[in-house]
Amino acid sequence: MTHDQSGMFGAAGTGDTSGYGGLVRQAVSFGSTERPYGSYFDEVADDLERAYPDFSDAITRVVVDRGELTLHIKKERLAEVALILRDKLKFEMCMGVSGVHYPERTGAELVALYPLLSMTKNQRVRLEVATSELDPHIPSLVEVWAGNNWHEREVFDMFGVIFDGHPGLTRILMPDDWDGHPQRKDYPLGGIAVEYKGATTPAPSNRRSYQ
């Protein structure tokens, strides 16, 4: 759970007749993982600490979950850390950028994730950077990995994250004059209700559904 949820169905406004209305499920939060991290993750963290003296200041959390290492980085420090990971720790490749929108995380609603790959050492690590909806700026990494160009444009297009320093931050998938950013959670899916044999099925986003 990324946020608290109550009830079983998406029923709002009308009375909940399911009997599950009082059910409340609480959000789980992933705290920082304690050492030892296991696998090659300790080695990555050690190397990074050695190569980057500001490690403890720049990296807010280290999460090891499901066999994957995620470094949560302060957005002001992202470019520095990325450069060190590329040059000193041999993470030559960034496999792209993935955005996620968590409307409940006040002040850190928009998240950008960078899966890095080291072909030299056959390792992977993920960088996670969060920013506020009110100030959706994250430094661009196109200077570090040129291949991030289109990926950052996609995250801008879909989530409205502005990558400072990007050489040409324009929409890439949606039309240039489109309003809004479709992958945000407050952006509706749309769709039209379908009538079949007299019964009407609402569009997917308007359906009552299990949560």
């Binding site: 499901r66 496999m95 993935s98």
Partner: protein, 445 residues
Amino acid sequence: MTTFDPYASSRETTEGTVFSVTGGDWDSLVSEIGESKEERIIVNMGPQHPSTHGVLRLVLELEGETVTEVRTGIGYLHTGIEKNIEFRNWTQAVTFVTRMDYLAPIFNETAYCLAVEKLLGITNDVPERASVIRVLMMELNRISSHMVALGTGALELGAMGPMFFAFREREAVLDAFEEISGLRMNMAYVRPGGVSQDLPPGMNLKLRELVKTLRKNFKDNATLLIGNTIWMKRTEGIGYLDLAGCTTLGITGPVLRSTGLPWDLRKMQPYCGYENYEFDVVTADTADVYGRFLCRMNELEQSLRIIEQAIDKLDKLEGQPVMVADKKIAWPAQLALGADGLGNSLDHIRQIMGTSMESLIHHFKLVTEGFRVPAGQAYAAVESPRGELAAHVVSDGGTRPYRVHFREPSFNNLQSISAMSEGGMVADIVGAVASIDPVMGGVDR
């Protein structure tokens, strides 16, 4: 020039003369352009152009026949699959992701399912037979995808014969897909926890026959193209991109392997039990269109080797399950062949309707509500025919994905078209695009 040509008319704008070429009459265009002193012209290639692999738009700046700048316009096939998935349950999402890169549906499904299984923590519970079937299907799919890449690539460079051979082979593979899953493309065959159904009886023998036929038939295209003077002139030294370029642009797959680096996730970070198969990683050292063509050509034989080993394994695993044992995750449908085709097993329906109310409730809950996936995020990558295809899946603990993002190799690799083509001839762009083998369904999602 004053005669009006409806297919090649010109008009004056503030930026200069704009010539529209929509039909076929180049003569009037050439004579018209010949009057102007400007050598630099900007040409829109696509989005409806036979050699752009779908709806890709290239804006070319030309000095004579030399390309000085290539800009790429994509998004014409954007279907919002990633957004749609957020409103479907975890199993339904398979039907959506399979439609992203429509030439490699099994890879999309497998990447997604591996990520969901990672989130569920059942990676090691997936039955061996299911993993072997996944490998078998992926390698068959690699062949059918490479066949399109080779056939259309050759056609775009003016060779028609290879297309006929390539699509003959592809048909044979698609027939096998149809027999196994019921569908030729977009099968939604791989599901979280395993695959949707077991192979039909007698399939192993048919697959062995298929491998034999394919191995024989692949020689036709090899004879036509490898060493062919015209083919070599159109591909050698064209679309050059070296290892440093590939690394900074995040390029994987045959384009990366054509620079000589044997990077293949099947070997380096095995999944679905690829570590138990013997095969070689194919490379070339020319870093050009010809090298990529050779890589794809030689990968076909490696795929056949893997398929043969997979069939051997399937012989040994006959009768084993193809879905996780956990009934809270496994899709409850028992499929059977009826008079009107494949559908729910009537015996199974009769049993749950007539004798077990709990089974009926369970079936109903799982189909309407779906299963819950513990909160967290996972990234699972597979080696698709075009490079690293990965699914980044986020769960909030509910019955529907919170966010699914696909790291599409086509999307990423298409960025390199500028680096490959600028400074070259305009005719070589076609070869460079074909060598990247972008599938616009995957690029735009």
